[in-house]
């Protein structure tokens, strides 16, 4: 081996030549081939890969949409309709992009739920979790600006309501809003910058996703038992075991996605967004996209505007410090008999908030939102810190392999050897 060259184990001479100088093949083999992965994943562990695939779909369809879209208040609505009618398969690209946003949030909400249930946010994965929350925030910003682009009634009025939230801040509020708008109302400059940022943000997300995955490959994956792998009997190489398992989930995911796109493409949208934006006519109810409704309900649960805005931001911010709020060393809720039910109740509160967020801001919905909001925060700020000290967790299994292999003996001879051959 020449000095300075990577010591490659690849036998194909051409690939070996590249790999010695730029060991991406060795890296792929290490991170996605032989990468030791807990053997006991359930299908919840598909959703990270599904989110990654969805991000790629969104970027790919988005690039083609941008080729045909005109970011101008006078032409945006018609350019979208032109995509639907006259661009080859434009309807397909647009409906995939539009429903892809919803699918992205469905997948990410399940991915977050997985993290909450199995304690994936706890040491040593705190930074991994925080990067995930950053991705979630970036996704929300991207989705919000994307929804403005068709320049329908909900685009315009959604943008007006959400950007106006910043006016709640004392002294600087109004200035921030004017700065965001690029003028004194939501208008052409706003649409232009939202288009520019909507194109930029997915690549920022892709960058943070890279860090998220890099951090994951340092700590390794959590698993449904929440205990660390003790040795090779507890893990399997990522390929072919989890490439195969992720593929199954991916096809099922595509079936759900295809059903939305081909049969009910507008079910998750709002009919008002097929009415061109009109600054002089306010819709009867301005509602954001469904995936923002839980946070919209938190916002409206507080009678004071600034308080509502702060609480809404707080409902995301609290996720950043979650690793230090949960004082229990036990990761998986399987072994936390009380915390498990507290978390299920939190899940219900979140769904209730989503439901109430779609209703008019009147009683009883406001009261229901207030109760659900109170529990949302109580779970993180009171229940989790206390339960870590008060709750008596169930006994943890000694190892991941033990429950399936009586006595925790070595694996059957073939299990470790064969995958290496296949890989």
């Amino acid at each position: 081996m020449a000095i300075g060259l990577h010591d490659s184990t690849i036998s194909n001479p051409v690939i070996r030549w590249v790999d010695q100088r730029l060991p991406i093949f060795t890296m792929m083999q290490k991170e996605y081939g032989t990468f030791p992965t807990p053997r006991n994943f359930n299908y919840f562990w598909n959703f990270g890969a599904l989110a990654m695939v969805t991000l790629m779909i969104m970027i790919a369809t988005g690039i083609f949409l941008a080729m045909n879209y005109t970011p101008h208040t006078s032409y945006a609505f018609d350019s979208v309709e032109r995509i639907m009618r006259d661009v080859n398969y434009g309807w397909l690209i647009r409906y995939v992009h539009m429903n892809g946003a919803s699918m992205f949030f469905i997948v990410v909400y399940i991915h977050i739920w997985r993290g909450l249930y199995y304690g994936s946010y706890k040491a040593p994965r705190e930074l991994l979790w925080i990067l995930g929350v950053v991705i979630f925030l970036l996704m929300m910003a991207t989705a919000f600006m994307g929804y403005v682009l068709p320049w329908g009634q909900m685009s315009f009025w959604g943008a007006t309501v959400i950007t106006n939230l910043f006016s709640a801040f004392p002294i600087v509020g109004e200035h921030i809003v004017t700065w965001l708008w690029g003028g004194f109302s939501v208008d052409n400059p706003t649409l232009n910058r939202f288009f520019s940022l909507h194109y930029l943000m997915p690549f920022v997300i892709a960058g943070v996703v890279f860090l998220h995955v890099a951090a994951l490959h340092i700590t390794g994956s959590n698993n449904p038992l929440g205990i660390d792998p003790k040795g090779p009997q507890d893990t399997l190489p990522f390929h072919p075991y989890y490439t195969a398992k992720d593929s199954v989930g991916l096809v099922v995911y595509f079936i759900v996605f295809a059903f939305l796109v081909f049969f009910t493409p507008n079910m998750l949208g709002h009919p008002d967004n097929y009415i061109p934006a009109n600054p002089l006519v306010t819709p009867a109810h301005i509602v954001p996209e469904w995936y923002f409704l839980p946070f919209y309900a938190v916002l409206r649960a507080v009678p004071d505007k600034l308080g509502g805005v702060l609480l809404m931001f707080g409902s995301i911010a609290v996720l950043f410090i979650l690793p230090w709020l949960d004082t229990s060393p036990v990761r998986s809720m399987r072994f936390r008999p009380i915390a498990k039910w507290a978390l299920f109740l939190w899940g219900i509160a979140f769904v209730v908030l989503g439901w109430a967020g779609g209703k008019p801001a009147e009683q009883p919905y406001v009261l229901i939102s207030q109760i659900a909001t109170a529990y949302y925060f109580a779970y993180f700020l009171i229940i989790l810190p206390l339960l870590g000290r008060l709750e008596r967790p169930l006994a943890l299994p000694e190892s991941i392999a033990l429950p399936v292999l009586r006595g925790g003996g070595p694996l059957p001879a073939g299990a470790m050897a064969k995958p290496m051959e296949k890989a």
Partner: protein
Amino acid sequence: MSSFRNLVGALMLGAATILGAAPAQAAGPAITLPDTRFSFEGFFGVYDRGSLQRGFQVYKEVCSACHAMRQLSYRNLLEIGLTEAQVRAIAATFQVVDGPNDQGEMFERPARLSDRFRRPFANEQAARAANNGAYPPDLSVMVKARLNGADYMHALLTGYRDPPAGFQLMDGMNYNAYFPGHQIAMPNVLNPGQVEYADRTEATVDQMARDVTTFMAWAAEPEAEKRRAMGIRIILFLIILGGLTYAVKRKVWADVKH
């Protein structure tokens, strides 16, 4: 097993969120729309070509006096089963503005296949001036712009009634059972025999409303037939692929106890 239950639970939570998110509708007493059966509903629905052509006739002879459909071009009419000669003849009956010519003048000429549907008014102000201040909205995507758009359009067009006793109807407004607030600026325009169908279908109000709704549904979603046909093939393909993928996964995991 418990992990499977968790997954199902999470999916149900997700579904509940989506269902709960069904957009909030206008306040006030809810108006229930009658469910009208249309040829284009369901997985295998197609637009009834006869109904589309009759619906276009209703639009051309009745609605287009006030309502534009600016997303449509005359060439699109080839898709509703008319021949090219027929569509050229229809287009030629409309005068559109073109230009400027060599002298810098705008001029009028008969419409061609590539022209957009001619708009009844030059601009919104002209439309309002001619309609007692009300603006007849563009109908291109109207069916997508209302909840249960097709049912709503049909109900609206057949929903003109005498106002109930004590109902305060504003000047120049009309009572409609299905319009939010029940006061609509648009008068009842469909009367029995309003149009004379070439295929001798009896032009009842219900028939005309049904035909023009079908036409508007097609105008809003001209891709719907192609979309559903493609969707059925793609989902069948994915189900087969899913079976194969699952078999591969089982094979790969066959020698691992888990």
